[in-house]
């Protein structure tokens, strides 16, 4: 499985009998061929990451005197951040957003949908599948506009409510967090559904049937047989959905702008505000490092708790 694609073709062609010189030459040739790719990765991927680390420890600014004379300021950005009540609020909002929109919303709902559609009529599966996937293929900014149009003071939802005799509610203002969470669930569930559908299809029917013959209830089959078998997919999906949700900016920014007040100010919004509204690029970069850290920690936690190897 771990065969090295770089070396193996040469050994296959030359066999073990060839001289070391020749082998060396192939290695050099491989390196030469890979060089452009490496260079590109170095310049456009590793470089920016290293720069991010560096900038997080400077007072880099978009404008003002610090833009001219950027200084290394050690851990000041981080000290500042941990004293900033807005940062604490943002972390809380991020956790809430992550918990409800990614873990509970997309993951659980996606699983239920996949389960309900399992072994149903293919035509039914296809129609429902397309409807759900429509939410996923819609670009984030379009999703945001759809939901703003729906939840607006004079939007569709209020128009419907008024028909039934309710008073209109300023949804985006009264329930901002719930609004952006629901919009993200609507947008992202299809992905989880697809992952789980594929995983569930891989569970051999005979095992389930054997369990039923042995007297297991439907719930027991699901909990004791199916779930452990698709554990790998659950974790992978959890990680992907979490990382995707941690980075959601467009949806929230377009729907509520992080407001009202700080009601939907997740870390990406907070970072944008610090970097491009307050012009404190260094501080913004430091926040992005913390965001990265949260993503790593959460991913490792998933892997450990589920005892899955990647």
């Amino acid at each position: 499985m771990d065969a090295n694609p770089v070396i193996s073709p040469s050994t296959a062609v030359d066999g073990g009998s060839s001289s070391r010189k020749r082998q060396n030459r192939t290695v050099w040739a491989s390196i030469l061929f890979l060089l452009p790719a490496w260079l590109l990765l170095l310049v456009f991927f590793i470089g920016p990451i290293l720069l991010t680390f560096y900038f997080a420890f400077t007072n880099l600014s978009l404008t003002g005197s610090e833009a001219q004379a950027t200084q290394f300021i050690g851990f000041s950005n981080f000290m500042n951040m941990f004293q900033d009540p807005n940062f604490r609020i943002s972390v809380m909002k991020t956790v809430i957003y992550l918990l409800f929109s990614a873990i509970i919303g997309q993951q659980v709902l996606g699983f239920i949908l996949a389960l309900l559609m399992k072994e149903k009529n293919p035509a039914f599966r296809r129609v429902i599948g397309i409807i759900i996937i429509a939410g996923w293929v819609t670009p984030e900014i379009v999703v945001a506009f759809c939901w703003v149009a729906f939840l607006n003071d004079s939007g569709t939802l209020n128009a419907l409510l008024q028909q039934v005799g309710f008073k209109p509610i300023a949804w985006l203002f009264t329930f901002p967090m719930a609004s952006v969470i629901i919009a993200n669930i609507w947008h992202g569930t299809a992905f989880s559904m697809l992952v789980f559908q594929a995983a569930l299809d891989d569970v051999p029917k005979s095992i389930e049937e054997a369990a039923v013959v042995d007297g297991a209830s439907r719930f027991q089959v699901l909990y004791k047989i199916v779930l452990p078998m698709i554990k790998g997919s659950v974790v992978t999906n959890m990680i992907l959905v979490t990382l995707q949700t941690l980075g959601v900016f467009t949806l929230i920014y377009a729907m509520t702008g992080g407001g009202p007040g700080t009601a939907t100010q997740t870390l990406p919004i907070f970072m944008y505000n610090q970097a491009f509204v307050n012009y404190q690029l260094g501080y913004g970069t430091a926040i992005s490092l913390i965001l990265l850290l949260i993503g790593v920690i959460v991913s490792v936690l998933y892997l450990k708790s589920m005892k899955v190897k990647v």
Binding site: F33, T63, A67, Q83, A170, G257, G261, Y279
Partner: protein
């Protein structure tokens, strides 16, 4: 042997390919950027437009300025490269553009409150030497000239407009409520009394509209918070000591006034006013319908109601009045205002500074400046223009120009933009009742100190 040659050839072509690829990228970059490298006859101008913003400026450049300038400089080629963005994003985009040789334009329009920041960042060219040899500069109002001076005492821009802020009020609403017309409030209490009366007599009218949220950005800081604060004894910044005032009776009173408006429900619904579009809706939709009693805002709102404006309203200036903002308790000089405005600056990375300066001189003459302001509904930075009859005949311009007498400019200190965002978020927290006025001052103190540093703040 053949295989080896192949490999060599492949390797060489891959490397050559990647070099070509990268150079192709950089080529297309410079073509799409604003750089006019080497071409001494082309200058590019960056300003904000889109969504009805700066329509007057764009028309003026296209119809009046560029054809006339080309007559004097037949070889000159003027390229407009406007940025379509919200006000806040415009500043960030301009800063990014000015940073790079590739994208820096030759002339940029700067909001005067950003001049100091961008100058301190080394993005702008000082103009003192050029201004020394230019007599027209004497006609500029001194107050406005200070607005384009950075902390280092040098001048970094030539203003093309300025503005003032005051209280718009609807005479019909006032008459219905039994309030005096014309209205001349003498203190904050007079404003509150008028608002309370309107609320009692016309419950469906919003008594007092002022920008109050983070979404309205600088408008919240300047039109609301600073209009109030500069009517107290305590400004935002102590110029002599060069420190930010982070705790003062004036600050507390300002937050208290804002709190009172919303606590007594004298303001609009929060979902209306905490919205980025709030101000636009207020002046283009609600005001013409007589749904607003008093609005604290700038002279430019008059432009909405012109024939070619976004909300034409022929009777606007019979119905609307424009009163000066009183000081807190009516203390001398009795009224107050805040002024800003925009200026033409030359980026340090412009490669055509001489022609750019010629252009700025050309557009800044009395005649050309007047032409702009007749289109734009802002006040002129030139004394001689504000004496022209055509100009004074513009609705509310006489009043608006009056306010300039007691006006204030925002501190030209490079941390101002950051302090301004602290103001916006504390004002929104007061309005949404998250903070009491006292807590708001505490919060303001803490956050401003964090932004500007402990050694740059004082309390009064």
């Amino acid at each position: 042997m053949k295989v080896k040659n192949y490999k060599k050839l492949a390797a060489v072509s891959v490397i050559a390919g990647s070099v070509l690829f990268s150079s192709a990228c950089s080529d297309s970059d410079s073509a799409s950027g604003n750089k006019t490298a080497g071409d001494k006859n082309t200058i590019s101008i960056t300003f904000r437009d889109g969504g009805g913003t700066n329509k007057g400026l764009t028309q003026w450049l296209n119809n009046d300025i560029i054809p006339a300038f080309k007559k004097e400089h037949p070889k000159a080629n003027i390229k407009l490269s406007p940025i379509s963005a919200s006000e806040g994003d415009y500043f960030a985009k301009v800063a990014l553009m000015l940073k790079s040789n590739q994208s820096a334009p030759d002339i940029v329009t700067e909001d005067t409150f950003m001049v100091n920041s961008d100058a301190s960042a080394g993005y702008l060219e000082p103009l003192d030497k050029r201004i020394d040899g230019w007599d027209e500069w004497d006609h500029y109002i001194d107050n406005v000239k200070n607005g384009v001076k950075a902390q280092d005492g040098k001048t970094y821009g030539v203003p093309f407009n300025t503005d003032s802020r005051g209280l718009w009020y609807n005479k019909d609403v006032f008459k219905k409520a039994g309030l005096p017309v014309p209205w001349e409030p003498k203190s904050w209490d007079d404003i509150l009394t008028a608002a309370r009366t309107i609320k009692k007599k016309s419950p469906d009218v919003i008594p007092m509209w002022m920008n109050s949220g983070k979404a309205t950005g600088e408008a919240t800081s300047m039109q609301t918070f600073e209009m109030l604060l500069y009517g107290t004894e305590d400004p935002l910044y102590d110029k002599d000591k060069q420190k930010w005032i982070v705790n003062s009776p004036g600050l507390l009173d300002t937050y208290t006034f804002i709190d009172t408006i919303y606590k007594e429900k004298l303001g609009p619904n929060l979902s209306q006013v905490l919205n980025g579009q709030g101000g636009t809706i207020a002046y283009t939709q609600l005001m013409p319908k007589g749904k607003i009693g008093i609005g604290l805002d700038g002279i430019w709102q008059a432009g909405n109601y012109r024939k070619d404006g976004p909300a034409p309203w022929p009777e606007a200036f019979d119905t609307l009045g424009y009163a000066a903002m009183p000081t807190q308790k009516g203390q001398a000089p009795g009224t107050t205002s805040m002024s800003g405005g925009w200026a033409f600056s030359i980026p340090k990375k412009s490669d055509n500074k001489d022609l750019s300066w010629e252009f700025i001189k050309f557009v800044s003459t009395k005649e050309n400046n007047l032409k702009l302001l007749l289109k734009e509904n802002n006040l002129s930075p030139r004394e001689d223009v504000s004496k022209e009859k055509e100009y004074l005949d513009l609705p509310m311009f006489k009043e608006g120009s009056e306010f300039l007498k007691n006006t204030h400019f925002r501190p030209s200190v490079d941390k101002y933009p950051s302090v301004s965002t602290v103001i916006q978020s504390t004002v929104e927290d007061v309005v949404t009742d998250k903070l009491s006025p006292k807590q708001a001052v505490e919060n303001y103190k803490k956050n401003v100190t964090r932004v500007v540093g402990k050694d740059k703040v004082i309390e009064r």
